[in-house]
Amino acid sequence: MRRFPVLAALRARPVTTPAPPARTHDRASRALRGSAQLRHVDAGSCNGCEVEIAQVFSPVWDAGRFGVRLVASPRHADGLLVTGVVTRNMLTPLRRTLDAVPRPRTVIACGDCAVSGGVFAGAYGVVGAVRDAVGVDLEITGCPPHPSAIVEGLRGLTGR
């Protein structure tokens, strides 16, 4: 069997770990009910997080299994997935995008820069971390965060 990985994969049990306990402390998480439509906003990222987010929605990690989708318009979204430090030029667009998301809504800061400013904290043209600009509901750390970390965070959001 070891010489035929395809057959081995067919026999194997699902590798998914059990769902984390659903977040219930805020209204947005309760309203999501197992499905989160997210609009991604790059507030000033180096694109490291974007590479990992692309992996999250690839067939390997496939966050779609857990009810997470990326959508094109904030009008369709339940929340924002923000990466990178908030730069001065992106401050207003970030606020406007959040304003366009219907309530109840959730904001996820993804990556060290988004959480704390990371290596860019205090640099020229940087306003600060995402929580300095808008309220943040969920933080995912790592520089960049491993896809499995992002998936874990999102599963906490959808509860699946």
Binding site: R75, T92, R96, A100, R103
Partner: protein
Amino acid sequence: MSATAYLGGLGTAGAAALLGAILPDRRRLLGAGVLAAVGCLAALVGAGEVLVSGRSFTVHVAAVLPLAGLDLRVDALGALFIVTTAAVGLAASCYAVGYGAHARPGRTATALQPAFLATMLLVPAAASVASFLVAWELMALTSLLAVLIEHRRPETRDAAQWYGAMTHIGAAAILLGLLLLATHAGGQGFAVIASHRRQLSAPLASVVFVLVLVGFASKAGAVPLHPWLPRAHPQAPGPISALMSGAMVNMGVYGILRVGRDLLGGGELWWWLVVAALGIVSAVFGALHAAASTDLKRLLAYSTVDNVGLVLIGLGGAGALVASGHRQLGDLLELAALFHMVNHALFKGCLFLGAGAVQHATGTRDLDRLGGLARRMPATAVVFGIGALAITGLPGLNGFASEWLLLQGLLHGFGTHSAVTEAVLLGGVATVAVTGGLTATAFVKALGVGFLGQPRSGDAAGGREVAASMVVGMALLAGGCVVLGVVPGVVLPVVDRAVAVVDHVVATVPARSAPPVRSGLGLDLAPLQGAVEPALLVMGMLAGIVAAWGLLRLVPRQAELRARRRTEAWGCGREVQTARMEITATSFAEPLQRVFADVLRPDRDVEVTHAAESRYFPEAITFHQRVDDAVERAVYRPVIGTVERWGNLARRVPNGSVHRYLAFGLAALVLILVVLA
């Protein structure tokens, strides 16, 4: 009574012209405007009475014209055109008071508008060849001078040159045709000519018809005799262009009807097929150019070509059907054509006055520089909007009523005639459909780019609402559009009187038995299938709006709905929304231009200036686009070029030498003697 009112109106309009010429600067505009409006009102009443009662009147004034005297006869057909002209004239006279208030036009400019108006009121009443030609020529001259009011701009002079040349070629053709007719009839009164129409030989009648068709079609702006129209109409001041487009082009239609159907008695089938074919070409060509134009008034002028085309399709179809013995169907189509002409006068007058107001307020009529006027000029935007909806043919407004009638007439004409007639009728149906779509494109552009969104230039941003008298003038015509659109059935029997006047002398044509439409509020084709009640449609729409509003008010809302918040429209989070991000008239029309590149012939120049250091870095990119008139390019430019070349050759002949001139005189004398001997 009706004669007194009509002649009084004519006199008052003439007095308005006189007053405009002699009153001092401050009173001039108001005096001429009010008097002209009163004159229009009187003419409207006089001619309206003729239309309603059906009794015509005749006036002969021997003292006015030497030798022949002035013969006037207002029958229902002429009265319809007088009423239309007077209605547009009334609105334009009100409007002119406010329009000129800032610019303070001179004596000539103030006097010209009432004078032009008076000549147009005179043309449909003329009842002899001499009277008609004099009135026609006066109308041509006053309108030519009116175009030249803003003569300091070179493009105005260019437009006037085109207009002058084309209108006089047309007048020459009409003169020739009518003189031929008068010579053979043995008298110059229209009644004498009409009574001699049976004795006229067929080839001669055809020659006369083709001659007058050239003349009248050039006045009506039918393709290929149209190039003056999109030049002259935009260059004239607002009220004048409304009068030219709303009233003067109708005179071409009047001429075709009066001479072709009345004086020549209907004639042959092919005449009317030619008229309908002219109409089809004009309608498609005009609608295409209107959709591609970025100059507001040029757009409206091309749309006039389009609508004249629709009227000609109706007249041509009517003539063809009557000539082949289908009186009822022919009358229906003719009614549709005349009704569309009346409607066109109302909505196009309204739109041209609106465009004049835009130009008055912003100083530009380039759609690419306008925008955001709905907030700045709300009243103008509303009346322009009504005009635009009417011309697009939406139910509830008058454009719908007449286009519906026209389509019904064309469709009912199938299955009765020769293959050629059916092909032309089919072409007419297709044309009405195509031009409907193209007109909608053109007016979505005019209204959307011109009035909605953000201003695209400082001129547009500085636009303010125009004077009350201008708004009143526009609102009069817009109100007419609404009334004729909601209850067209009230007006149709009146228009039908004009149709009934036009008789046909071919023996195979049965006499008129019944009017083609039943009287009532809506549109109801009497012996044929087809009826529509615009009033019910409008009431249904209003009821729907009220119901929707009431539902929103009455149904209790959930807590979530109550927490509604207002935010900006989602614009991808961008920080500034500038006018440069808006769609322009040019970009709106671009796909259409690409599809119809063979007809529209857009000329494009993209010039890239490079930085001195490297060709890879452009410093400036300029883009120019001009949509050329294919007919003008293919037909007129070569002719004008040839005429210029011959003219330059002829210039060498008179070189100033007296000896040479004496030799010319001798040669001419010898030639005459040789010919006479």
